[in-house]
Symmetry: C2
Subunit: 298 residues, 2 copies
């Protein structure tokens, strides 16, 4: 395995590379993890949908700091896609993913078949009413039920000590934290900061959908959110700042704006101002590509 020569790739983790094992069934996953446990290792899990980029590898590196053995799941989860969303065309590249994971220092790639994750007749779902119904949940009905269900399955399958999620999907991070707490799953959830291109665009597998023209506009999502956060931190009212942010995105060339929202950073309820942590979150479309991003209120 060679290190990708992408110059935006951070330096390779200073971690011994015992090679990447690939497992495809829950029973093989459990066997491997049981062996890691017998060897006295702490287990880290990084759930992904594959099409891995530098942002995912940053999650792996985060996991390598807090765990001895890192398992990355790659599973394009059908239950978190709506009927008119991009499940069929979502990018898939297992060979490329495996190369990147080996170079990034991961130990185990778990690539289950859909019928192993969702056995015939599977109907059981994990829901997070409230937190899972607002913002992304309002625009993508059922999305967080799909996310909470698949993450619950993965955590119960692997029973890791720690699991790492990116702040890029900020509401997902909070939904997973709530689910883990409420179901008493014995795992610590770690948040890793969003990785961005040099021009500010948050890394996302869906950036691959953008045309050159859209790609040029896309970073404005980040800069607009940063400006909204700056405004509310200087005393502007959240509602005015949200309105300004939405208008700014449309002027920048975004096709539609689903929401620009100033929220409490823990509950995602309307932000009550300092000393509560604030978070500015947004979703907007560029042509047919839907982008999300978020920043803290400084």
């Amino acid at each position: 395995m060679t290190v990708p020569e992408d110059p935006s790739e951070p330096p390779v983790a200073q971690h011994p590379q015992p090679g990447l094992d690939i497992v495809r069934t829950v029973s093989d996953l459990r066997r491997k993890i049981a062996r890691f446990r017998r060897e006295g290792h702490r287990i880290g899990l990084v759930p992904t949908m594959g099409a891995l980029h530098t942002g995912h590898i940053a999650l792996v590196r985060h996991a390598l700091v807090v765990a001895d053995r890192v398992c990355v799941s790659v599973f394009v989860n059908p239950t978190q896609f709506g009927p008119h969303e991009d499940f069929a065309v979502y990018p898939r590249d297992e060979a490329g993913d495996a190369t990147k994971l080996a170079a990034g220092g991961a130990h185990l790639l778990f690539a289950p078949a859909p019928e192993d994750m969702y056995p015939p007749g599977d109907t059981c779902r994990v829901t997070v009413p409230g937190l899972g119904d607002i913002l992304e949940g309002a625009f993508r009905p059922g999305f967080f039920t799909g996310v909470a269900t698949v993450v619950a399955k993965l955590l119960i399958q692997a029973l890791p000590d720690v699991a790492v999620f990116g702040e890029k999907d900020y509401q997902q991070l909070l939904v997973v934290r709530r689910m883990v707490r409420d179901l008493h799953i014995p795992v610590r959830i770690e948040a890793a900061p969003t990785v961005r291109e040099a021009d500010g665009l948050a890394l996302s597998s869906r950036n691959a959908y953008l045309s050159a023209e859209e790609r040029a506009i896309a970073p404005d999502l980040h800069w607009t959110l940063t400006a909204v956060a700056d405004r509310v931190s200087h005393g502007h009212g959240p509602a005015d700042a949200e309105q300004w942010g939405g208008d700014t995105l449309v002027k920048a060339g975004f096709t539609t704006v689903d929401y620009v929202a100033v929220r409490d950073g823990e509950s995602l309820e309307p932000w009550a101002g300092p000393p509560r942590p604030g978070r500015v979150l947004a979703a907007a479309r560029l042509g047919r590509t839907r982008l999300i991003d978020n920043v803290p209120v400084p």
Copy 2:
């Protein structure tokens, strides 16, 4: 602890009685179970809502056959009661339960506080659409979501090798099995046969609600279901047998009949006849008391 002198109590299990430990928090439960594990024991869990009777003790004895250390949870689960159901008056008797569990050979009583099972802000729910929406689920909306949620929590808290459920709550048994399979919880679910009074009435904590007159009628639920099962096993059509069963219960003095249903014993879909296993299930009211029961088609 002394053995209760109720003559209907089966003989005491021939199991060493190291005394019953009582724990009230998830962290104490996990500490105790981790110690059992270090000692090399197989762990059995028997989830209950307390008000324990001989039927529950039979579950404990079943667990003692398949596990070395048996934990019984006693928790009147608020989320499985409807707004007009009997949560507030459901019988509670922790001291009596502890005495019976010690005599029955259980090792650990887990009696959590509601705020430990459902932390403030808890909204996460486990649903089993389809199987959880029919029969009991149709007459008690949300019931199986409450059951699946609390059982998922208990199983994830204790991570036992085996958990024992009574066939008395037959649909609950199937919902739990489906939930455990779909979420990949690493536990074996064991079914224990229904324990009955000498006159056929299935033991239930809710039998305590019955007046003397209602108590005299109650066994007809079992005998009617047995007759329905006998009819379909002799070639009567399920729909006719169900109708006959409902009429018979009303004639016997039942106030209302929610359902008498001949179903597939694994899916609870309409029974296709032999060689598929058949099950006859019913729910009916005597005054304000709702009774359920079920029998196999012979």
